[in-house]
């Protein structure tokens, strides 16, 4: 169980490798990574702001909750902050479990709660200026699934 909040990029493959290294009790490993999407080619930079201190404790709380709900061997949350370019990695979660269903559900759960409960905010600067990304009602609604 680990949480990292950093400005540097991360190596998704190396993180997943480290999670399972030397173990034989993991049957299923699910990862999610979020990327800076720019369909139109208008996006110059995505700025990620966060609340140092609260971010780490909120993410840890979400992780602890996942371990209470599912049989998990390991989990990891890495989230970046600062300016990011289109195509760059924003964040990742990983969930390792003896069983497929638990790994999928836990990763999905981590993402749903991270979206609405971890203090990050996105600001997009495009060719027409800068704008804060609005939270979606569907993100808050997604919490009710769990």
């Amino acid at each position: 169980m680990a949480v990292r909040v950093q400005s540097e990029d991360f190596d998704l493959g190396a993180e997943l490798e480290a999670l399972r290294a030397g173990r034989t009790d993991i049957g299923a490993l699910v990862s999610f990574s979020g990327l800076v999407r720019d369909d139109t080619g208008d996006l110059k930079v995505l700025e990620l702001e966060h609340y140092p201190g609260m971010t780490e404790s909120a993410l840890t709380e979400i992780e602890v909750e996942a371990h209470k709900r599912w049989e998990l061997n390991a989990t990891l949350i890495v989230h970046r902050f600062g300016p990011l370019k289109p195509g760059e990695q924003i964040m990742m979660v990983a969930a390792a479990s003896p069983h497929r269903k638990a790994a999928f559900e836990a990763a999905d759960f981590l993402m749903d709660f991270l979206k609405s409960r971890a203090p990050f905010w996105k600001k997009e600067t495009g060719v027409d200026g800068a704008e804060w990304v609005d939270a979606k009602d569907t993100d808050e609604d997604a919490l009710k699934r769990w």
Partner: protein, 83 residues
């Protein structure tokens, strides 16, 4: 009572500072918000629609009814958009 108050995202931009110390006798978060709105336009603007403002008390998500007694750090920000 003295409180550290921090702001993020567009709440921070509207208020103009990321952090300040506020002197207040307000009993709840909501009371403090009302007091700040009466003080200056920039607060009035930032807090004009509380349905899009979230509050954290000592780094834990809370709400506008929360009492201020014993609180060290109060944070105001828009709904989160991480991930």
């Amino acid at each position: 009572m003295k409180l550290d108050v921090v702001y993020f995202a567009w709440v921070r931009e509207r208020i103009g500072v990321p952090r300040e110390t506020v002197e207040t006798d307000a009993l709840s978060v909501g009371d403090l918000v009302a007091e700040l709105r009466a003080r200056e336009d920039r607060y009035d603007l930032a807090f004009s629609d509380l349905s899009v403002v979230r509050v954290a008390v000592d780094q834990t998500l809370s709400d506008f009814d929360a009492p201020l007694k014993g609180v060290r750090e109060l944070a105001f920000f828009p709904p989160m958009t991480g991930g």
